[in-house]
């Protein structure tokens, strides 16, 4: 099970939870599992998030692998100027 941390704004869509345990081997699988468990998250995960895996931030990378030792943080989608 991968430990997934949600940023504050997402917690309300995950029944108030800030940390979750998810069985997934890629970011895509993680999104699918989260969307199944928390349907309100689906639209956010589809369009509005970046994902940090062990400190490395990915904006759009569904096939990045994760494992039980990974620390995954879901962030808002980052944009610059």
């Amino acid at each position: 099970m991968v430990k997934v941390v949600l940023w504050g704004g997402l917690r309300s869509k995950a029944k108030g939870q800030s940390e979750l345990q998810i069985a997934a081997s890629t970011i895509r699988e993680m999104f699918l599992r989260l969307s199944e468990d928390f349907p309100d998250l689906e639209a956010e995960l589809e369009h509005n998030v970046s994902v940090a895996v062990d400190g490395k931030v990915y904006r759009d990378a569904l096939f990045v692998t994760i494992d039980d030792a990974s620390e995954v943080v879901i962030l808002p989608k980052l944009q610059g100027g």
Binding site: G9, A52, K56, V73, L75, Q79
Partner: protein
Amino acid sequence: MSDKGLSESENDFKVIGTRPIRPDGIDKVTGRALYGADRYAPGMLVGKVLRSPYPHARIRAIDTTRAEALAGVKAIITKGDFGPVPASQKATLNNVMAQDKALFDGHAIAAVAAVDNSTALKALELIQVDYEILPHVTDVVAAMADDAPLVHDDNFTKGVEPKPKKPSNIAARLEFGHGDVEAGFGEASLIVEQEFATEAAHQGYIEPPACLATYSDDGSSELWCTTQGHFMVRDTCAALLGITVSKLRVTASEIGGGFGGKTAVYLEPLALALSRKSGRPVKMVMSRSEVFRAAGPTASSSMRVKIGVDKDGRITAADALLNYQSGAFPGFITMLGAMSAFACYNLENVRSVGHEVITNRPMQVSYRAPGAPISNFAVESVIDELARKLDMDPIEFRLKNAAREGDRSSYGPRYEQIGLEKTLETVRENPHYQAALPKGHGRGVAVGFWFNFGGLTAISLNINSDGTVTVSVGRPDIGGSRASMCLMAAEELGIPYENVRTIIADTSSLGYNDTTDGSRTTFSNGLAIIQAARQAKSIMCARAAKMWDLPEEAVEWVDGAVQPCGPNAGDFPAVSIAEIAGKAPQTGGPIAGHCEVNAEGAGVSFAAHIADVEVDEDTGRTTVHRYTVVQDAGKAIHPAYVEGQYQGGAAQGIGWALNEGYVYGDDGLMQNPGFLDYRIPVCSDLPMIDTEIIEIPNKGHPYGVRGVGETSIVPPLATIANAIRSATGVRVNQVPMAPPVVLKALEES
């Protein structure tokens, strides 16, 4: 083929780190470079925009009859000439052409194309708009009040539970952090809590938005424009006008400054719509007044920051409430301000809450590290106060609490290898920090953070018949990036810098490239160029091996040539890139490398600034006598341009700190839409800005590159405030710290 691999040590570089002349320099100093307003087309019309004279008004009717009857008028467009558009583009369309309401002073209501400038202006006067004037709000605090005029009566705050039943001007509430902030404050022996405000600042680019649109009878169209992202312009315009993406080709002109301000469309969809309607090419150029009134500044803000420390100077808790004024539409700058607020520190208990507040002002647009300088001003001012109260050196206090590799950032992820500690240590040893202060001067320091991004990148690298190289990239060069691209291609191929030319290709020539923003270009273009060069080298090695009847693994690429390697390779003289390229027709055809990638792995960066100032206590005027930037670049590909980015960010930040700010009257109209009244710093306002480059490599890039373009604007607001505090003993909590503001603070102290 053997290769040196992804990890090159600094000592291996031959051209990376040198300072050659920029390839676009001669064109720019001789006037040959073509900017947004420099293109002409046969039969070209002039396009002009009718803008709202009210900050908030319902548009009951628009009568264009008299304007259309004016000789020389070829087309007039209003909201009816666009859409329908996807939900994701509705705000963009509303920003470039008002729909049911004018939402800010300067909001576009209609546009005209005519045979010349004077006819177009006369036509604007003949358009009759029936407005119902509505109450307006331009101040962030006033906009949050329960009885504030509603900019959008269907806006319900996102991010709060339960969902509000009543609309408001607060578009979103965002929260970041971890730990138990209240418990952390309970452990503190000293707490500082203060309130701050900043006014909106404009990006201040010298070249206004400008474009030339040509819409053909067959539906294909061409657009020439000044922008930071011509692929973004293409896709946005195609959506707004209902054009198939492949039918619209956008070419980016040279750009006279962007700084985030040219990451949105303004005139481009209007020019295309006018061209479509008139059947003629249409050129549009904004006046400076239009730029200020309608081509977005960054946010203004109202903030409260509270930080507690224990008796040893260790931060026990940090909390921020950040209310950002977002203009007439929701954006993303509040989020970035809240995420970055405490990113410099290793904190067990931290929270930052942002409110994104809609007002009757132009849509906020990115400005160099969008949102970060604002929250940093508040946080670093409180950090300075804490160091003073603890009687600690401000650098030592920051070192004690600095984020390091493995620490959990205040916005979530743990840091990989970062350079904040090294940056602070370098400041401590810097001659500026070591120098004695003249009497009456004050010294301030502050640190700053920026994320830096990668993103969608497509490049093409062609080996020409003489062995020179042409690199086609898809991001406009806003900071000298072509030189850096040439350096990385030359380094990887082992050829002279002068043998590489980099061009900015149009949108029909490459796959999608994300906009030149987020300090991504040198990182992600460079990553792609290195991969493409390695692909081209692999092809050239294979060609040479075939000519020698050797297996590919029996040759290697060294210094721009292929040579045999290994015990059984034989003794052939090396063949150069020029020789291989010359034989390309006979050995398999043209040689090129390509890379299409979503570049991930951008590395965050940190900066620390030092300022010495003097304050005239009779006038409140602040003079900056000395200024130094120390920043981590990961690896400086072209150190002169890295230094230029450091200096440019600092100069803009000093301007924001001391003078720049939007002024709105009670009538909701901008009072200072010009460079005479909105004062950006000129050379005589600034000292030489010294720089020191730190290089802590980013492991996500083959050469260690981190973005450098944005971090440098983050610390100046607080650095100047802390220096004023040092010089006068007075804390100024309001930006800009213009003479009247400082004088008032001095008088009240």
